[in-house]
Symmetry: C2
Subunit: 154 residues, 2 copies
């Protein structure tokens, strides 16, 4: 009704306005994570693998015989959380557990042939997913971003 400048008129705040929230680093990390999560899920829809599952496959491939506790340590996962990931991967016959010979408390994890195959396919999807992500940055920026993110989780 009156002058458009009145506060009651709900001055047109743009769709991206977040009322101060946009100054919070943690907020941006969460939103960026969400965006990456969604694109990852789309890219891996056919393979039906999650980020965590792919990371676990990758690490067991790189460290054959790794224990659950060590896998969890490198991926920043709780023992119980690691269990659920490994359980799922084992149920799909991508991974198998063997009792460690050097320490009977530990499980030694290995990829099955199916797991090796799944990881090979996953690597191609990761390349695609990373290309989508990296398209926003110069090589120098990408490097700087990784380095700064590492400072947070290390």
């Amino acid at each position: 009704m009156g002058a458009p400048a009145l506060t009651d008129d709900k001055a047109p705040r743009p769709p991206g306005d977040l009322g101060g929230l946009e100054g919070i680093i943690g907020f941006h990390i969460r939103l960026a994570h969400g965006a990456v999560y969604r694109h990852f899920t789309e890219t891996f829809a056919d393979l039906d693998l999650t980020q965590k599952q792919v990371s676990a496959l990758w690490l067991v491939s790189e460290f054959p015989g790794i224990s659950q506790i060590e896998l969890g340590r490198r991926l920043r996962m709780d023992r119980a959380t690691t269990m659920t990931i490994v359980n799922r991967l084992q149920a799909r016959a991508f991974m198998r557990r063997e009792r460690s010979t050097s320490d009977a408390r530990k499980q030694a994890l290995y990829l099955t042939d199916g797991g090796v195959e799944a990881l090979a396919k996953a690597r191609r999807c990761i390349a695609q997913h990373e290309a989508w992500l990296k398209a926003r940055f110069t090589a120098g920026e990408a490097e700087k971003l990784v380095e700064m993110l590492a400072r947070i989780h290390e």
Copy 2:
């Protein structure tokens, strides 16, 4: 037994070695998100609020009468996801729904007095949490990080 350089001897790969995974941007975003999530949870243990809940409180405070669909749009949430957040906040009497007068399909969201109080406390926790996060960066770095993360989720 034999020479320590043999591959079978499991050459001592440092605890931080991730076998190539450390070159993937998406991987670092996920780990950084996890670290931030955990610190946030600790910081907000007394208040018993999650990141999403705080963001929702903040936005409803900044945009009184905002609709659920609009709240979800700004926080990149699905309609159903937004419902669960608002439900929880309403159950704790931090937020209330009113039917919009201009469009009866929409709910208008407002903070209750309790919600205003909770947000005030939350802001102090956020400051603490952000200080923990920002301690790793110079002012210029923090700015650059936010800008790069925004490129991902925008």
